[in-house]
Point group: C2
Chain length 142, copies 2
């Protein structure tokens, strides 16, 4: 695991997850491994296309979906497909059901500040617990 993995390493990682090791996938995954900036699909597309001009944006989206499903990559807080609003202003956090998108308020004891802060000035914290709500657990198999 890591940004220095070679082609064969990455290819077998794909096959272990039932994914074919295509050049597009390898390039997209490699580009994501090589950066720390949490890029968007569009950013990866522009970057990978430089060395693979035939690449299409649709392939980037499909690839990111496959890699996420295989748990080789993660999507940042990508639970909501549309913005969700809250009129409750007291500090609180959320349980988010990744199946039905339900959001439930919870309170959490105060959080210790992160260590490696550098010059970053924190103005707020948002904690999301992801999982499955009672209704979804009750229903079909998860």
């Amino acid at each position: 695991m890591g940004p220095t993995a070679d082609r064969a390493e990455l290819a077998s990682r794909f096959r272990a997850h039932g994914l074919k090791a295509t050049p597009q996938r390898l390039a997209i995954y490699r580009a994501l491994l090589q950066t720390f900036e949490h890029p968007s699909a569009e950013t990866l597309f522009r970057r990978v296309r430089r060395t693979m001009p035939s690449l299409s944006l649709g392939t980037v989206y499909k690839t990111l979906d496959s890699l996420e499903a295989a748990q080789l990559i993660t999507r940042l807080s990508g639970v909501e497909e549309s913005a969700r609003y809250d009129a409750k202003l007291e500090p609180h956090h959320h349980l988010i059901c990744t199946r039905c998108k339900k959001v439930i308020d919870v309170t959490v004891p105060d959080l210790p500040a992160p260590a490696q802060l550098g010059a970053f000035e924190i103005t707020g914290v948002h904690v999301q617990f992801l999982g499955h709500c009672g209704d979804c657990l009750k229903g079909e198999r998860i």
Copy 2:
């Protein structure tokens, strides 16, 4: 503060923030105060339109923007305008610059589980520290 506030209370809350107290805004804000389900703009639109058929979806979006700017409501983890991906799988969290959307990895000591869990099964936690990064602090006034 709270879902039982009456019209005059809400209206003066708006004026205190320099917002005109229009019937649309009052209705949208009231609808958001009255629910715990963290609705989307579309959901609020459908709900409020039942008693105010002339309401437009555009007004709902503009109103939510105004209320958020006035800090009367919050938007759930609404930092990214597009999905952002990460190939780092070790548990970690993020500093998110709300100005330039930069995302920086951080590690945080283990989090205590929330108290009021009920039937919810937690599969993961994501902590987002919101604020301003060094580059943005250095630049123009915040």
